[in-house]
């Protein structure tokens, strides 16, 4: 007990130096917390953006459908039987079907292949909310529903590339499901910006009847998408759905669909962790220096305590305690500050639209879904872990000074100046 008192008093005695080491721990712990909060927020953001824009919670597609490479074949599509529809209705899932295909868009002498998503105007918005979108439409059309059956919605990216806007037309060329060539001139009913680069680059949303006019797919579709009350039911629901649909379909959950994204985020997390570790390593040298200086400055005091009967282990304990005092206070302050910032940004979010635009211009994030508001993830585990880590760093870095202090010979130490 008296050792602790002595340790606290000694730490307070050199307030300037103490403050420096403390600040280093605080920033290290904060960096750990914020880095992890940011990355898990980013992960969560991407998952949500993907769920909201592309995959829902559970998605079924033709058995041989490619899951990578951005190919969207229509030669083998799915249809639902009456029994399957009844089963879906019976279970009460919110669901819709979509058909992905890649028509060529032509206007004048410009042409490019785009990803088109055929959607069911009656149901799509219940599964894929568009509340956050900004939608430009023809002024005369302004009052009408965002979803109109007589035209296509194009992404801001396509609008930019072709220099078109609401009211203009684009020519769509595609093969039908039977392989025949077809072309259709379609009006643009709106230009959307969802804040999600995965949609905003080159996507066309096309109402189902128009898709049928172009590819003659009838009742068929490429994706059946379910939205659940809780995404954690996805695995069980996916199993049931797979059983219903049999071998002609493959069923995947949001988790499988987002795996690549999540892994990419984990790499980022490791990078941020390394940065935090470097900060804490700097803190560690600071603390080691603080405690070592304390040891050298207090040689006579150590000798005196030894003469009074304090053992070597007691001397070691004293210096470790001094490190611990620095560590506890620093880790607590860092955890408090980091936790406060994370919980603030978990609620109010960080606006990433500038970043999204910049990244989009580079073409780096074309395929990454995310929404422009990032909400950090608040996690007690991360905060406690970071604080414990900061404390451990402080303790570890006072080991060497403690060893130096125990090696002092009392006979010499009592007479040191």
């Amino acid at each position: 007990m008296f050792l602790l008192k002595l340790a606290v008093k000694n730490v307070l005695r050199q307030s300037g130096r103490t403050l420096l080491s403390m600040v280093a721990i605080i920033f290290g712990v904060m960096a750990l917390i914020l880095g992890r909060g940011f990355v898990s927020g980013m992960k969560e953001n991407m998952i949500r953006a993907q769920v909201d824009a592309l995959t829902g919670h559970v998605v079924a597609m033709p058995a041989d459908y490619p899951t990578t490479g951005g190919r969207f074949p229509i030669d083998e599509l799915l249809t639902l039987t009456e029994a399957e529809r009844a089963w879906l209705a019976d279970r009460g899932y919110a669901w819709t079907v979509r058909t992905f295909f890649t028509p060529r868009v032509v206007r004048g002498r410009d042409a490019m292949r785009v990803r088109a998503i055929g959607f069911d105007p009656g149901r799509d918005e219940q599964i894929f909310p568009r509340g956050d979108w900004t939608l430009r439409r023809e002024p005369t059309n302004a009052g009408a529903s965002a979803v109109s059956d007589d035209g296509v919605l194009i992404s801001a990216g396509i609008a930019r590339i072709f220099g078109v806007g609401p009211g203009d037309t684009l020519l769509f060329e595609s093969r039908t499901v039977d392989g025949a060539l077809n072309a259709l001139e379609l009006p643009i009913s709106g230009v959307f910006e969802s804040g999600n680069p995965a949609l905003d680059r080159v996507t066309v949303l096309m109402p189902r009847p128009l898709v049928h006019d172009l590819i003659q797919h009838g009742e068929a579709f490429s994706h059946l998408v379910l939205r659940l009350e809780s995404r954690y039911e996805a695995f069980a629901v996916a199993q049931d759905l797979a059983e219903q649909l049999g071998t002609r379909a493959k069923v995947r959950t949001w988790r499988q669909e987002s795996q690549a994204l999540v892994e990419a985020q984990e790499i980022r997390q490791r990078i941020l962790d390394v940065i935090a570790f470097v900060l804490l390593a700097i803190a560690a040298t600071g603390i080691a220096n603080t405690v070592l200086m304390a040891a050298y400055e207090r040689v006579r005091e150590i000798g005196t305590l030894r003469a009074l009967g304090l053992r070597r282990t007691g001397v070691a304990a004293l210096f470790l305690l001094e490190g611990a005092v620095l560590g506890v206070v620093g880790a607590l302050a860092g955890a408090l500050a980091g936790g406060a910032l994370v919980s603030h940004w978990a609620v109010s979010g960080i606006d990433l639209s500038g970043f999204a635009d910049a990244a989009g211009a580079e073409g780096m994030y074309d395929d990454l879904p995310f929404t422009s508001m990032l909400y950090m993830e608040f996690s007690w585990a991360t905060i406690l872990g970071a604080a414990a880590f900061g404390l451990a760093v402080a303790l570890l870095s006072s080991i060497y000074p403690a060893v130096v202090a125990t090696r002092l010979a009392p006979a010499d130490a009592v007479r040191a100046t």
Partner: protein, 238 residues
């Protein structure tokens, strides 16, 4: 019967050409209640001898006995325990812990000695005995040299040690203050029967001791026990 004894103790520093025989075969015993002053020219081995008796250092050869027990080969842990319980130190430079108050400095020593009883009360009483009853909450930096040395004496004596070792306790004090400090120690010696062992260059200090040991080149040159305490010297009157 000696409570502390050195038998043919040698201490050698360095090796080869640099070899220094700081103690070159010293045998000395100290009986309970003795008040001994160690004199001798600078470098004669006074501090080295006090370190041996005080168990702060171990001899190169020879034995050290504390209350009949040979302690010259004990572990540093056991030595620390004996120091804590049986030996009090007073240093030339006072050696108080700067961040602790006078009271806390004394309490630390009681804590390490595992003295039974209420440490606060014992420490307060010890400080009152050295005349610091009003200053017990002051830090060493707020005390004069003489006052600091009084705290050191209180710290050494509060735990009721068998031996108090003081290496030039008055060297950093002016002569009047030194005399006061000496008088306090004399008084403690007479009232409590604590054994005292001093080193000094100060003739005033030497003159008030009953036994004077003179060291020369690491050997005992004289060991002079006077029949009675010398009268007169102002330093010796309490």
């Amino acid at each position: 019967m000696f409570c502390f004894e050195l038998k043919d103790v040698r201490k050698t520093y360095g090796a080869g050409a640099q070899e220094v025989h700081a103690l070159d075969g010293v045998s000395l015993g100290f009986a309970p209640g003795e008040f001994t002053v160690l004199c001798g020219p600078s470098g004669s081995g006074k501090t080295t001898l006090l370190n041996m008796i005080g168990l702060l250092d171990t001899p190169t050869a020879g034995e050290v006995f504390v209350e009949e027990e040979d302690v010259s080969r004990l572990s540093s842990k056991r030595l620390a325990r004996i120091r804590a319980g049986r030996i009090g130190f007073v240093f030339q430079a006072f050696n108080l812990v700067p961040v602790l108050s006078a009271l806390e400095n004394v309490e630390v020593s009681l804590h390490l000695a595992r003295t039974p009883g209420d440490h606060r009360a014992i420490a307060t009483e010890a400080l009152e005995r050295v005349g610091l009853g009003k200053l017990i909450h002051r830090k060493p930096g707020q005390l004069s040299g003489g006052q600091q040395q009084r705290v050191a004496i209180a710290r050494a004596l509060a735990k009721s040690p068998a031996l108090v070792i003081a290496d030039e306790p008055t060297a950093n004090l002016d002569s009047a203050t030194g005399a006061e400090i000496l008088a306090i120690m004399r008084e403690m010696n007479e009232e409590d029967g604590v054994t005292f062992l001093f080193s000094t260059h100060d003739p005033m200090v030497r003159d008030c001791a009953r036994r004077v040991v003179i060291l020369r080149d690491g050997r005992v040159a004289e060991d002079d026990v006077r029949a009675r305490r010398p009268a007169g010297g102002a330093a010796c009157s309490s």
